[in-house]
Structure formats: structure tokens, C-alpha cells
């Protein structure tokens, strides 16, 4: 038996369940990127002057920057002027006071995506912020969370209700000028989620944000900020989908995490943006900056991502390990199929003593897809006793895809110990044969092996997501190997 190309082609089928479009009346900005549009976005959100000033300053910085070209990605230039930077479902007056006032069409959309927003129908123990194009349409369980002192709301609401927290932490992990896409986001960001966990508080439920791109010719530029105060713990989940379209759409988000002393943030993502069709038409361009800052001793930030969607993924969730004994983790499964391209990985910057980081990356490439791991482990002179362990494995399904590994390791402290291992191969014929000889159909056997390959990452996901991720992988691969 062999992994011949025709087998792969026969078996890889596109089945994107989230690809529908919701026909809803919209309020949207004309296409174009300029100061007027930025002022318009700010005005729509009734933002204070300081935030508008920050946006304009970021825009000025952005205009001096050029698009990065170092990633192992090939795509035509993105015309930023053709994109609309604000699109929101029209609402009556000031917007919904409660779920009962949310447009039923929106509730139906989320229901269809498997994210019921009515609390009685919801998964117990998971609070959801639902972001639809440029606005948050609903946040559930806010009352219950408030009892514990936890703030979980849309970013726009946080700017209004908790300006002191937003001002203190916004841009403190990812400054506006950090990179081209972060600068763009800082200028035009629309909505996203804000989380604050007070001191010594264990967040009583999982928090999650569900991002949905719906409108045509728009981009989504959400901004998420999570602050875990001293001794607190939170687990946050993020999911993303978009309709099937022939045009590419841009998603350029920024996520900032701040973990103070003894705080623990677990951030999980299942990214299932529309990946484009079998010919590589359409799909989301996903350029995301995610970074966490372990500011105090014993802080811990753990990123887990399952990346199956998007035509282009450019994403490096990172950890700044400043506090001594702080811990950074990155667990990733990135699956690319058809003409998808991913350049993803992480940065672990060890500043404090005895800081530790673990990187486990599993890349799967099928058909013509290109999948790259890019990572940086940097040990600064003060990071006495720092430890890093990195394991990067790539699986190739078919002879026209590519798998690439670009780890950067910079060590400036002799007491540090850094280990990096990587391997690239196709599915073992012996394993496949063994399973089939036990009576397991080929497609199931492949799924079983791929799932096994991803096990070290899936076990890091919260239970509900792990099941979801398993299914998603099976669908995205639908028999990717013969």
C-alpha cells in the first residue's frame, strides 16, 4: 500500500459545515483605510478621546511600516483599501439589553454553529462572548461571573465601563508598533473580549469567545485582553468560523495576556476560519499577533491551538517569561489541506531565573498545502537555570505538500538547558498495515494514527474542545491518506 497522490485526492474532501451566510441588515463603513474611517469606528463605539488618539498614533506608525515577507507564505498583495473596516448587524436604538432583545437571526446563526446563546441551552460552565463581524452581539453568564468579581465583556463595553483597566494594560504586551499587522489592528480594531480575574480568584467557569465573520468584503480586527491578577486562574477558549466565499477576507487580531504573580492563564483556540476551496479559491487570511506576559513570579501562560482553517495562517502565540519560575507552554496542531498555507509557531523569551517553557508542535500537510513551524527560544543572560524543551513533528500526506521547520535558538546563559527535536515523515506504512490487518478500514486507521500523532496537544484542551477538535480534524482530513 502506498500514499499515492490519487488516493489522497480521492480521500480528501472538503466539508466545511460552517460555510453558510446569514442574511441580516447591516450597518457598514465604506471600503478604505484612512484617518476618517478610524474616526468613524471610534465614533460608532462612542470611544473616549484617548483611545481615538491611540488609534491615530498607531495608524501613523503603521503607515511607516511594510508588510513582513519573511514567512514561508505566498499570496498576492492584500489591497487594504478595498476592505470595509466596520460591519455590524443593524440594531434598534442602543442595542440589546438582554439576550431576549438580540436579533433572532443572530441567535439562530450561533445555534447553527453549535453555540447556543440561551443560557438554559448552553453548555454548563462555559460563558460565551459572541462577536459577529465588528461587534459583540451577546455575552452570557455575565451576572454569575460578576458574583465572583470576574469581568467578562466585549472590548467596547470594557472601554466604557472599565477604562482604568483597559488603559493600564492595552498595548502593554503588544505595543502598537510591534509589527505591521499589530499596528493595523491597533488603528482599526473593532470588537473582541475583555477579561479581568481579580486577585486570588479561580474563574468559576470556562470563558469563551466565538468569532464569526459574516459580511462580504470586510475584515475582522478583533482585540482581546485578558488580565489575571495575582494568584488567579482562568481558562479561556476561542473559536472562529466564516462563510464560504471565493474572495479572500482578512482577519488581523491582537490578543494580549497579562499574568501577574502566581496567576495562571490557559488560552485555547480552535481556529476553523473558512480555508478556501479545493482549487485554493477564497478563504481567510489570518494574520494574528498573540502574546502573553508572565509579569510576576510563578506565573503561567499556556497556549493550545488547533489550526485547521484559513487560507493563510501567520500566527505565533508567544510568552514573555519575566517573573522568576514562570512557565510558558505552547501546544499546537496545525493542519493544512488543499492550497492552505500556514506559518505558525511560538516565541519563548526567557528573562527571569528558573523560567521554563515547553513547545509541542504537530504539523499535518495534505495535497498541495504548505505547513511551516517557526519558533524562537531566547534565553537572556539573567535567565539562570532556564529550561526549554521543544518537540516539532510533521506529517506529510501526499507527495505535493510541504512541511518545514525553522526554529531559532538563542542562548546567552550557560546554566540554561535547551533541547529541540524535530522530525518529518509520512504516515508509517507499518502502522497503517497493522491497523488494517486488524480489520480497521483505511480511513479510520489514518484518522486513528493522525489523532495519535496529535494526542500530546489534544490532551491539553479542555474536555469540550478536545472532542470538538477530534471531530474537526477528522472532517478536515476526511480520509486524507490512502
Amino acid at each position: 500500500m502506498s500514499t499515492r497522490n490519487e488516493d489522497v485526492t480521492r480521500l480528501v474532501k472538503q466539508d466545511y459545515a460552517a460555510g453558510f451566510y446569514t442574511d441580516i441588515e447591516q450597518d457598514r463603513a465604506p471600503p478604505g483605510l484612512n484617518e476618517d474611517i478610524i474616526a468613524l469606528i471610534s465614533a460608532k463605539k462612542n470611544e473616549p478621546q484617548w483611545l481615538l488618539d491611540a488609534r491615530l498614533a498607531a495608524f501613523a506608525q503603521f503607515q511607516r511600516m511594510s508588510e513582513p515577507d519573511w514567512a514561508h507564505l505566498h499570496y498576492p498583495p492584500i489591497d487594504l483599501q478595498s476592505i470595509s473596516y466596520y460591519a455590524a448587524p443593524k440594531r434598534k436604538e442602543d442595542g440589546p439589553k438582554s439576550l431576549d432583545e438580540v436579533d433572532p437571526k443572530l441567535l439562530e446563526t450561533y445555534e447553527k454553529l453549535g453555540i447556543p446563546l440561551h443560557e438554559q441551552k448552553m453548555l454548563a460552565g462555559v460563558a460565551v462572548d459572541a462577536v459577529f463581524d465588528s461587534v459583540s452581539v451577546a455575552t452570557t453568564f455575565k451576572g454569575k461571573l460578576a458574583e465572583a468579581g470576574v469581568i467578562f465583556c466585549s472590548f467596547s463595553e470594557a472601554v466604557r465601563e472599565h477604562p482604568e483597566l483597559v488603559r493600564k494594560y492595552l498595548g502593554s504586551v503588544v505595543p502598537a508598533g510591534d509589527n505591521y499587522f499589530a499596528a493595523l489592528n491597533a488603528a482599526v480594531f473593532s470588537d473582541g473580549s475583555f477579561v479581568y480575574i481579580p486577585k486570588n480568584t479561580r474563574c468559576p467557569m470556562e470563558l469563551s469567545t466565538y468569532f464569526r465573520i459574516n459580511a462580504m468584503n470586510t475584515g475582522q480586527f478583533e482585540r482581546t485582553l485578558i488580565v489575571a491578577d495575582e494568584g488567579s486562574t482562568v481558562s479561556y477558549l476561542e473559536g472562529c468560523t466564516a462563510p464560504m466565499r471565493d474572495e479572500n477576507q482578512l482577519h488581523a487580531a491582537v490578543v494580549e495576556l497579562v499574568a501577574l504573580r502566581d496567576a495562571n492563564i490557559k488560552y485555547s483556540t480552535v481556529q476553523n476560519w473558512y480555508p478556501g476551496d479545493e482549487q485554493g479559491r477564497g478563504g481567510i487570511y489570518n494574520f494574528v499577533t498573540k502574546r502573553g506576559d508572565c509579569r510576576g513570579a510563578n506565573a503561567k501562560i499556556s497556549w493550545t491551538q488547533v489550526e485547521t482553517g484559513s487560507a493563510i495562517t501567520w500566527k505565533y502565540p508567544s510568552c514573555i517569561l519575566r517573573g522568576e519560575n514562570s512557565v510558558g507552554e505552547f501546544y499546537s496542531v496545525a493542519l493544512t489541506n488543499n492550497y492552505q498555507q500556514a506559518d505558525t509557531g511560538t516565541k519563548m523569551v526567557h528573562i527571569g531565573r528558573n523560567t521554563r517553557s515547553t513547545i509541542v508542535s504537530k504539523g499535518i500537510s495534505a495535497r498541495q498545502a504548505q505547513n511551516a513551524y517557526r519558533g524562537l527560544v531566547r534565553i537572556l543572560p539573567g535567565a539562570e537555570g532556564a529550561r526549554n524543551y521543544t518537540q516539532c513533528d510533521s506529517l506529510l500526506l501526499g507527495d505535493r505538500c510541504g512541511a518545514h521547520t525553522f526554529p531559532y535558538i538563542e542562548v546567552r546563559n550557560p546554566s540554561a538547558k535547551v533541547e529541540h527535536e524535530a522530525s518529518t515523515s509520512r504516515i508509517s506504512e507499518d502502522q497503517l498495515f497493522y491497523l488494517r490487518s486488524r480489520g480497521i478500514p483505511q480511513e479510520d486507521a489514518v484518522n486513528m494514527i493522525v489523532n495519535g500523532f496529535c494526542k500530546d496537544v489534544f490532551k491539553e484542551l479542555p474536555m469540550e474542545f478536545a472532542v470538538e477538535a477530534n471531530k474537526l480534524l477528522a472532517v478536515s482530513l476526511e480520509g486524507a491518506v490512502g
Binding site: 501526499g398 526554529p407 529541540h420 524535530a422 518529518t424
Partner: protein
């Protein structure tokens, strides 16, 4: 480009203008054009800066402080007996130029022919497509020094062919741009020892290009030892081209020069070729050593195994970049690359980047990199047996470099490598004589 690098470039290009007319075959239009075109490309592109990915960790700005003089061939007062040679009849380059007195042309083994580059200039000019490599262009601009070795098909040579690139002391900083071209005939087998040595007081820029073209089923064992003085800059390019079922077995020692940058580019463009490459960099003082390795698996059933180690002490900085490329349809590839590094002092630094770029699926590829200090558990084990700390450290250090040296098949070569390393390691941790 920075002001410092502009200044360095002006100096290098200015030196070319000064000596262009005196270079070999300067009156041949094609040769002169080739040189001028190379300088023009260099001027247009500039010297590499740390924003260039391939030079991310190596800053050349210290070049600006020097005005390197290009030196033509000249007689030396050295005698053969004074040469630090391993073999009886070494091939000797003095400041880049093949020395007809120190080299005993009559003593070459049967089937080996050796000459300067004069008759080969036209062939060398066509030997490689222009690549984005400032130092290759610089070498092209001064094309003329060096040697050409041809080994007839089917010849097996049992003695190592020793090439010594000697720098003599000069009053002002000097530079040379030699080209070493080795054509190994089909089925031949040879061991080549390529050495870079400074005589006391040399302060120089060596910018050498070594081209090794290996014919079908031929086997080359290559040992390259760069042990120039800390006052020197060493830029070395090694190109290896393997025909069908050819074998390249190499050991590269980067243990000298204040700033050293070597690029090893290996092309496995035909089926069945095998590459085994070991390397060791040793960086102490304020030295800087950068090794870039690029293995191109362009044909099916090719194999490569790389073990490259770094020992970094004092304020030294080591850089390693090892890339394995497997091209589309190059199936049934096995490629393994391992880079291990020891940091011995608080101000030492290592930057390493092993890379895999894979476009075929029937492959077994892996790489690994480690950075750390001497294994604490092993140290404790030895000390609990009564081995003093310094001896225990020395034992582990020798063990770390030992497997690279032990893998050298030729006993004379192995002994030479041991001798070269012994001095360096002794300075770190003397190993008591125990046998």
C-alpha cells in the same frame, strides 16, 4: 547598509580598482569583464547586514576598521622543512597563491594533476550561476589565486592529499581570495586535508572558495581545519557537487580566526549519493564563529547525516545554521542533522537554527539541537568516584568533542585533529596523562 559596512565595501572595491590591472589575464576582456561585473554586483548589493536572514547573527562592521591590501604571488624565505605539514609532500598556497617552490610537483601521486588557475579561468567563470552572496562576488572579482586539482577516474590514493593555505606575516592587514577547485574522477577515492594556518603576526582576511566536484561512485574524505590566528577574518565557502552514487565524508574544524564565517553548500543532484558531515567549532576569547550548512537533496535515494558540535567559552559567540532541503519528487530520502552545543562561561553565546524544508513525502528527516553546560549528573557520578572536579570536567569535555575526532578514519588525520584540539582543550581543562 550601515556606514561602517559602506566604508568596508569602499575599501574592498577600492583595492580591486588598485590591483585589477595586475591580476592574472587582466588583458583578456572576458576575464576582466567577469571581475568588473562581480564588483558591480557587490557594490549594488552591498555587504550583508544583520537584517539579511543569512547574516542575522554575524555583524561585519568590524571589517571597517581595516584596510586590507591584496597581495600578489611572491617568493617566501620559508623552506619545506619549516612547514607545519602532516605529510611529506604538501601542496602549499602562500597568501592564496600556489607556491611552486614549497610544493613538490614531482611528488604528486600518479593520477593526480595540479596547477595554478591560469588555464582554468574561463571554466571557473562559468562554473556557477550568480548567487546572492557578496563574498562569492568578492572572490570572483579577484579571481586568479588558488589551485586546480584533478584526480583521474578510478584512481585510489591512499595518502592524504594535504593542501596548506599559509598566511605570512605582513606589515599591514592583507587579504587573499583563493579558489580551490578539485575535480574527482568517476570511481576515484581520495582523502583531502585542507588547512588554514597563519604564521606569527599575520593579520588578514581570507576569503576562499573551495569547489569539490565528485564524479560517479567516487569517494572523497575531506578534512578542513581552519586554525587561523585570532587577528584574522576567515570567510570560507565550500561547494560540494555529488554525482550519482558518490560519497562525501567530511570533518570540518572551525577553531580559529577572530571572525569566521563558513558556508558549506552540498548539492545531491543525482540519485544514490551519500553525505556524512561532522563538524566542530571552538570559540573562545572574544571570537565569533558562524557556520552555515545547506544540504540540497534534489534527487531520490540520497542520504545525509550531520553532527555538528560547538564549544563556546569566554565571551565567544557561536552561530550555527543547518538547513536540509528535500525537493519535490526527491523521494526515499534520509536526512539527519544534529547540533549540540556546550556553553562554558557566563558570557558565551550560541545561536543555532536547524532547518528542515521538505517538499516530498517519502522521507525520514530529523534534526535536533541542544544547548547546555556539562552534564551535572555525569559530573556528580565521576566526582562520587573520587575524580577531582577539574578532571571530571576535562573528561566530559574531551568526550564531547571525542566522537567527532574518533570518527576520522585516517589515523594520521585523526592524530592531527587531536593535536590541534588538545592545545585548545588543555587551555580550558588540562586532562592529566593517565596511560
Amino acid at each position: 547598509m550601515t556606514a561602517a559596512l559602506n566604508q568596508a565595501l569602499d575599501s574592498l572595491a577600492g583595492e580591486f580598482e588598485r590591483v585589477a590591472a595586475t591580476l592574472p589575464a587582466a588583458d583578456q576582456r572576458s576575464v576582466a569583464n567577469h571581475r568588473t561585473a562581480a564588483v558591480d554586483r557587490l557594490r549594488a548589493r552591498g555587504l550583508p547586514v544583520t537584517r539579511d536572514e543569512a547574516w542575522k547573527y554575524t555583524d561585519l562592521k568590524s571589517l571597517a576598521g581595516n584596510r586590507f591590501r591584496f597581495t600578489g604571488p611572491s617568493a617566501t624565505a620559508l623552506t619545506r622543512q619549516q612547514l607545519p605539514a602532516l605529510t611529506a609532500h604538501p601542496i602549499v598556497l602562500v597568501n592564496g597563491w600556489l607556491d611552486p617552490v614549497l610544493t613538490d610537483l614531482d611528488a604528486l601521486p600518479t593520477g593526480v594533476s595540479l596547477s595554478g588557475l591560469d588555464q582554468h579561468l574561463t571554466a571557473l567563470m562559468q562554473s556557477r550561476a550568480p548567487v546572492d552572496d557578496a563574498f562569492q562576488w568578492l572572490n570572483d572579482a579577484f579571481l586568479g589565486a588558488g589551485l586546480h586539482v584533478n584526480i583521474d577516474a578510478g584512481i585510489a590514493i591512499d595518502q592524504p592529499l594535504e593542501i596548506i593555505c599559509l598566511r605570512t606575516a605582513t606589515d599591514e592587514p592583507a587579504m587573499c581570495h583563493p579558489r580551490l577547485r578539485l575535480d574527482i574522477g568517476a570511481g576515484a577515492s581520495v582523502t583531502v586535508l585542507e588547512r588554514y594556518v597563519d604564521l606569527a603576526g599575520a593579520q588578514a582576511l581570507t576569503n576562499v572558495v573551495t569547489d569539490i566536484v565528485i564524479g560517479q561512485t567516487a569517494t572523497v574524505t575531506h578534512c578542513r581545519i581552519q586554525a587561523e590566528s585570532p587577528a584574522s577574518y576567515h570567510i570560507g565557502r565550500t561547494y560540494v557537487d555529488l554525482a550519482r552514487d558518490a560519497t562525501y565524508q567530511a570533518t570540518h574544524f572551525d577553531i580559529g580566526a577572530g571572525l569566521s564565517r563558513t558556508d558549506i553548500n552540498i548539492e545531491q543532484h543525482s540519485e544514490g549519493s551519500v553525505v556524512g558531515l561532522d563538524g566542530l567549532m571552538f570559540v573562545d576569547g572574544k571570537r565569533h564563529c558562524d557556520c552555515h550548512l545547506n544540504i540540497d537533496h534534489a534527487a531520490p535515494r540520497t542520504r545525509s547525516t550531520v553532527r555538528y558540535k560547538g564549544v563556546i567559552d569566554d565571551e565567544g559567540r557561536g552561530v550555527f545554521n543547518g538547513r536540509i532541503l528535500v525537493r519535490q519528487d526527491a523521494q526515499q530520502i534520509s536526512a539527519q542533522l544534529h547540533n549540540r552545543n556546550l556553553l562554558l562561561s557566563a558570557r558565551a553565546e550560541i545561536d543555532t537554527k536547524p532547518e528542515l524544508e521538505i517538499y516530498a513525502d517519502d522521507v525520514q528527516c530529523a534534526h535536533g539541537a541542544t544547548v547546555g553546560q556539562l552534564d551535572e549528573t555525569a559530573l556528580f557520578y565521576l566526582r562520587s568516584r573520587g575524580v577531582p572536579l577539574a578532571t571530571a570536567r576535562a573528561l566530559l569535555l574531551h568526550a564531547f568533542v571525542g566522537d567527532i575526532v574518533d570518527a576520522i578514519a585516517d589515523s594520521k588525520l585523526r592524530q592531527l585533529a587531536l593535536t590541534e584540539l588538545a592545545g585548545l582543550l588543555a587551555a580550558l581543562e588540562p586532562l592529566p596523562e593517565l596511560t
